[in-house]
């Protein structure tokens, strides 16, 4: 019985206290981050989400994920508490099949991007958005970003992301407009790398 299950949920915590204002704030931050790749945005909203999820990841999920966007959680993050929280507050379906997901929350950069939906040439907007949790996101570092929204180039530092990931991503970029959008989150901070952004490593740094 679903009613019985809900009554025995593992301790459900509140979502946004003021859903309209707060989801608009989060949306605005994400829009800024996507429009200016490489800038670090900080979500300054106090939410008590599941333990396994970073605050920014929870906030983005609450603002964007709904019943039309299946969500994939990396096995390390998919605790009962996290699944219950997201199902209850977003009304979403948690999928085990990463190809089907419109959004995915991952605990580390995946080895390849081929496990996720990159859309079709007719409907590139159906490509997945990955929220990748890392320990540090900061501006200024070995990664050089260029492309739309960036004047000349900008640098960021994502120390936990292996260089093989960037190689795989570059290989996938030739299928543009198909592609996958990335948001790296850490605590309340986020930096977005949409599919249009070119990432290269500075020489000498692997």
């Amino acid at each position: 019985m679903s009613a019985d299950n809900l009554a025995r949920t593992p301790h459900l915590t509140p979502g946004f206290t003021d859903s309209v204002t707060e989801s608009q704030t989060v949306f605005r931050h994400l829009l800024e981050a996507m429009a200016r790749p490489g800038t670090v945005q900080t979500v300054d909203i106090d939410i008590e989400g599941p333990d396994t999820l970073d605050r920014a990841a929870t906030a983005i999920a609450l603002a964007l994920v709904d019943f039309e966007t299946p969500l994939y959680l990396a096995p390390a993050l998919a605790t009962d508490a996290a699944e219950t929280y997201l199902k209850f507050h977003c009304g979403t379906r948690i999928t085990r099949d990463s190809m089907e997901a419109a959004f995915a929350i991952l605990d580390k950069a995946p080895e390849t991007l081929s496990g996720f939906n990159s859309g079709t040439d007719e409907y590139p907007e159906t490509g997945a958005t990955l929220l990748i949790q890392v320990d540090t996101v900061k501006a200024g570092g070995p990664l050089i970003l260029s492309g739309p929204g960036i004047k000349d180039t900008t640098n960021i530092d994502l120390p936990e992301v292996p260089s093989a990931f960037w190689t795989a991503r570059t290989a996938q970029q030739r299928y543009f407009p198909r592609g996958i959008d990335l948001v790296f989150v850490s605590g309340g901070s986020m930096v977005a790398i949409p599919r249009t952004t070119n990432v290269s490593l500075t020489a000498g740094k692997e």
Binding site: A3, P14, G15, T17, H89
Partner: protein, 153 residues
């Protein structure tokens, strides 16, 4: 102490949820105000107003059809003991949804269920039945017979 959740048997729960959903806010609130020893609660999902599609069946047996949309307000609260209550009520009254949610949570607590049943749920049910009886009596009294049209039942 571990909260004593009475097994919220889905039919039982359906019954009290239905009564709370249909009760008028004035009735519910006056009974709620009289309830001693109110619990502490926090909002898990703040009251929000939305629409649901009401569906019907002609004569209760025909094919399903969409009757129309109605406004509902829902709210979810958590008691300090960890029990969670949901309130779905008709109309736009946010306090109504919140009180209904707290009562739903209380009804799941074994030691409180009986008191709440007697002081809130039962009286609301009687009032609802009474209103329904009056309405159907009025409808029956004004029933029109068309002699040229055969009635199916």
């Amino acid at each position: 102490m571990e909260p004593q959740a009475s097994p919220p048997h889905s039919n039982e729960r359906k019954r009290w949820m239905s009564i709370l959903a249909k009760a008028s806010y004035e009735d519910l609130n006056s009974l709620w105000q009289n309830l001693p020893d109110k619990p502490e609660w926090s909002r898990i999902r703040a009251p929000e107003i939305g629409m649901v599609m009401v569906r019907g069946r002609m004569g209760g047996t025909g094919n399903r059809f969409n009757l129309g949309e109605m406004t509902v307000t829902r709210c979810t609260v958590g008691l300090s003991c960890g029990l969670i209550g949901h309130g779905y009520v008709s109309g736009r009254n946010k306090d109504h949804a919140e009180v209904a949610a707290v009562i739903d949570a209380l009804m799941q607590r074994k030691e409180r269920a009986e008191t709440v049943e007697h002081s809130i749920i039962k009286p609301l049910e009687l009032r609802h039945l009474d209103r329904r009886k009056r309405a159907s009596r009025k409808a029956a009294a004004t029933k029109v017979e068309f002699f040229t049209v055969a009635r199916e039942n």
